[in-house]
Symmetry: C2
Subunit: 248 residues, 2 copies
DNA sequence: CGTCCTGTTTGATCTGCATCAATGATGAAT
DNA sequence: ATTCATCATTGATGCAGATCAAACAGGACG
């Protein structure tokens, strides 16, 4: 009976293409049931590697709780983060057998997994899942392109301001808070992870965070907890022309 | 009658989701016919702007011949290319009314367009088109992530070598040439466009191209025509660990 | 044939960020 | 309480690539 309870699915796995189906009036319950049958959960501790680039990956998944990163590494050790996965984000690619990036849990992490083959079969039979996946992939592509502008053209200070704004926004939408007034949250990344996100060194990250604090753009309590007194000011520092990144 | 002739469609529009359908044994000809009914062509001259970021865009399209770019610009004029569209690439996003990027024709350009609404309707009725689009979008996302590594972590010399390798590969797959032996092609971009692609200035691009030529990694005839005597050497200079970008 | 225009190359100098190095803060283990 | 480990901050110095500036190459057009 629980299988047909959309609300339950929603809570367990607020993320996946499932959820879309669960709340979609057009969907027949038997498809939902099939999805329930092929899904399972995996947990990781903060710092654990979920999968290495090139390894066989026979499932696709979406993040339920916690944060994971996608990174690429060059032979000499230079690292670039290419994806930051928050709850509801999707990992893995239907139609590919090996992981293309290193996936790492930066906090404790729970993922909702689907073995790839049955998932693909289900996609063929259930267009809505594919459509939802297309939508999500297009959103990710937009995010990647915003990220490219940041990496290619922004100064260190602008990069830091942009990252803080991005995290503030995603955090706000996750928590369904109205994003006005005093915004306050914890940075989910170490300085080094931020550096890998931004294409900087951790020393530069640290210096620029200190500078933004000195200039009153952000307030810091401890190393992680950030308060933003004036969000518009932060956006200005980030150099964004567009509203960039507001979820549509 | 021409409407049902897959070969004709293939030649006109080697690109679009259409082609996939046209050669797909599972497709019924009436769907192909519907696609034919809603498509039309647009031409642009080299240098012309196809559409400005933010403008209304009531169609989706794919490149038939020529090359187009997607770019983002900051208020102070800093520019970053975020997409390079060769024949068969897709532009526009189902479910979005306004362009997110500036689209510019860098050579004479022909695009095959579909008015958005009928295209979306067709997608709903024809899962294969959506699946093909998902596949293409996932490929683009992978390319964007490779690009992010380049922007964030590669040196100027590595960036130039990478770009030349990317163009050489895409050129080779377009022409269906075996990619071994002497590789030779024309750069489709000016030095400034390359700079916008790579997050550099045009002077740095020019200097690094000169350096690669001095070192025998590439040969140049005129400003545009490149010959690569040893592709593996070029890849080595690009600093790629993976085979990155070989079409699957 | 010269003039203009656009794209390119090359040189000289400057600067933002990387690199190298030391010190500080926090929390867990003994 | 002391040690150790991890993460962060701050300082000193160097260098890759930006910036400023000049000259060059090739094509279009009078």
């Amino acid at each position: 009976m629980a299988l047909h309870d959309a609300q339950l699915v929603h809570q367990e796995c607020s993320s996946c293409p499932i959820r879309h189906r669960a709340v979609c009036a057009r969907c027949e319950t038997d498809e939902l049931e099939r999805l329930e049958q092929i899904k399972y959960y995996r947990s990781y501790q903060a710092g654990q590697t979920v999968i290495w680039s090139g390894d066989r990956m026979d499932y696709v998944a979406s993040v339920v709780t916690g944060i994971a990163t996608l990174t690429q590494t060059m032979e000499d050790g230079r690292r670039q983060m290419v994806g930051l996965l928050l709850p509801s984000d999707f990992v893995g690619r239907p139609g590919r057998d090996n992981a293309a990036y290193d996936v790492t849990a930066t906090t404790d992490l729970v993922m909702c997994c689907f073995r790839k083959k049955p998932f693909e079969d289900l996609m063929l039979r259930t267009p809505h899942i594919g459509q939802r996946l297309l939508e999500m992939t297009l959103d990710e592509l937009d995010a990647a392109r915003e990220w490219m502008l940041l990496l290619g053209r922004k100064t260190a200070r602008e990069k830091i301001a942009s990252l803080i704004a991005i995290i503030a926004r995603r955090d706000a939408t996750l928590k369904l808070r109205a994003a006005k007034g005093q915004i306050t949250f914890d940075l989910p990344l170490t300085r080094e992870e931020m550096a890998d996100y931004l294409g900087l060194t951790l020393e530069t990250v640290s210096r620029q965070i200190s500078a933004l604090r000195r200039d009153g753009v952000i307030h810091l309590e401890g190393k992680r907890h950030v308060t933003i007194p004036d969000f518009d000011r932060l956006i200005e520092e980030a150099g964004d022309d567009s509203d960039g990144g507001m979820v549509s």
